[in-house]
């Protein structure tokens, strides 16, 4: 292992765990032992066995196969929301930081968004649309954007006063070029870290939405859906919610570890203290 990696064990542990989860999701068609939608009325609520690694649910579906497929939903949602919220947040944040008259308009809108709990806003957004993976992603992205906007705006305000940004203006650079070449590259590290935390929170919110029945369509195997269906049978079939729960926890933990590790690795000041 290269030295800089050995200095950041959280980064390694988080990265490896997440990589394993990604590989499992990618290999779902080959890993799954059964069709995740297949109903077997004779094998309902079976405990884990050699035939069904994680047992079966109330309709006789194979929990292991569903859990493996369910990882795709969580990871797609996490990645998409992180990307979309970051791009949207960067655009809005830069405009707020550099265009004086737009600052108040954008930031008050963001304050308004932040006043509503993210999960509540997502539920409301889901209530007015038809449930699909895309609408879930959009519904989670919108409440996540203000956090990114605030971060980007505050960094933009401090970078705006930096002499090298003024010097860029002084050689006649246009504002868009100043932003893309001089401002944005200087905020990449905190942005990447923030994106990982957005991803972790998106995975959790997606699971919560599915658990509450307003997430991805009920027949889609997702960890939230599985736990929602399993919660009525906790007393007799604890395994139905146990395994998706464990996988969800590992995924969120791995993304958060990765984010923490990246923050330490990318922030030279913190690195020297540790």
């Amino acid at each position: 292992m290269p030295r800089w990696l050995r200095k950041h064990p959280t980064l390694v542990v988080g990265g490896v765990l997440l990589l394993v989860m990604v590989l499992i999701s990618l290999a779902a068609p080959w890993l799954a032992t059964h069709d995740p939608q297949d109903i077997d009325p004779l094998a309902r609520m079976k405990p884990p066995s050699a035939e069904h690694f994680f047992g079966t649910d109330a309709m006789g579906r194979d929990v292991f196969s569903r859990a493996v497929w369910g990882g795709r939903v969580s990871l797609i949602v996490g990645l998409s929301v992180a990307l979309l919220a970051t791009v949207g947040g960067v655009v809005l944040g830069l405009v707020a930081g550099f265009v004086r008259w737009a600052d108040n308009i954008i930031m008050r809108l963001m304050d308004g968004l932040m006043a509503i709990p993210g999960i509540l806003l997502a539920i409301a957004l889901m209530a007015v649309t038809r449930a699909s993976l895309t609408t879930v992603i959009v519904a989670i992205t919108i409440p996540e954007i203000p956090r990114v906007v605030r971060l980007v705006r505050s960094m933009a305000l401090s970078l705006r006063e930096q002499l090298f940004v003024e010097a860029a203006h002084a050689v006649g650079t246009r504002l868009p070029a100043v932003l893309s070449r001089h401002v944005l590259p200087n905020m990449l590290a905190p942005l990447i870290v923030q994106a990982t935390f957005v991803a972790a929170s998106a995975v959790l919110i997606e699971a919560s939405l599915s658990f509450l029945g307003v997430g991805v369509p009920a027949q889609t195997p997702s960890w939230g859906n599985m736990m929602a269906e399993g919660r009525n049978f906790v007393a007799v079939g604890f395994h139905i919610i146990l395994y998706p729960g464990i996988l969800l926890a590992i995924t969120v933990l791995s993304i958060n570890l990765l984010g923490d590790g990246l923050r330490d690795a990318l922030d030279p000041r913190l690195a020297r203290q540790l």
């Binding site: 002499l163 203006h169 050689v171 006649g172 650079t173 246009r174 001089h182």
Partner: protein, 342 residues
Amino acid sequence: MDKNAPALLEVDQLRTHFDTLNGTVRSVDGVSFTLQAGETLGVVGESGCGKSVTALSVLRLVPTPPARHGGEVRYRGSNLLALSEKAMRQIRGNRISMIFQEPMTSLNPVMTVGRQIAESVQLHQKVGRKAAMAHAVEMLRLVQIPEPERRAGEYPHQLSGGMRQRVMIALALACKPEVLIADEPTTALDVTIQAQIIDLLKRLQREMGMGVIMITHDLGVVAESCDRVVVMYAGRKVEEATVGALFERPLHPYTRALMASMPALNTRSRRLAEIPGLVPAPHELGQGCAFAQRCEHAMPRCRAETPVLDNHAQQGVHLVACFAVDRASHTPSLAAQPEAAP
């Protein structure tokens, strides 16, 4: 220098006022000076007297609002304050360039220095990436950076302060500007590096025939590099003269006080004279001469009226804005023994 040639840059009654909640701040209040090609004009004054704002105003780099400009800045006859933003971008970095005080922070930390110079070349000249990069390396060679090919690929943190200031100079001169505004170019550097940078600037100025505005609070830098000097106090010009005349016969009490607070090599060490008090905050300025509170020659008239610039030269031009010029210049000053000019 031909005195009758049209000036390269004429700053005429330039005003930069800021509207704040505490009233209007007159950072630059009616400053005028001219700059000829090939000439170095020093702008001297304490911190906060409006030197930097003057420089930024010439390039229109002070955001408006909150700032308001007045007067004119004429470059080759056209008033820069009236140009469109697009036309102004063509001038910045191309015809008029600026070097900033802090070489540590005026370079983008995440971009190689060669790339930064090449960018500014590409902004103003229709050249490809490769040609711009080759030009950047040439510029680095011109400012005497050893191994320019290798240095061009390095990031600012890999260079020393003096090197970075050289890179800033290369960046400012990349498009062969006619006017260079150097805002305290040596303040953040070691004394030995300061001398090198001043020499470099002088040599490049000779080679390229630029007009240079040297903004500084260091009278040593002025004596070494300038032809004419403008002394500013609280946003106004209080004295203007050739370097020789100013050092031989400083007339404004503020100029004399500035010189007195400079250590001299040819006298036994004694306590340096200081100017009591601070530059008044620009929004505290009221009636009368802004320096009156700190001036040892202040008369009642100084507090009631604002002095205007008058020519006090025996020959040529030596402008002073002071009612007490005669009184002040007859009092022996600590700076009355100027070091023999080399």
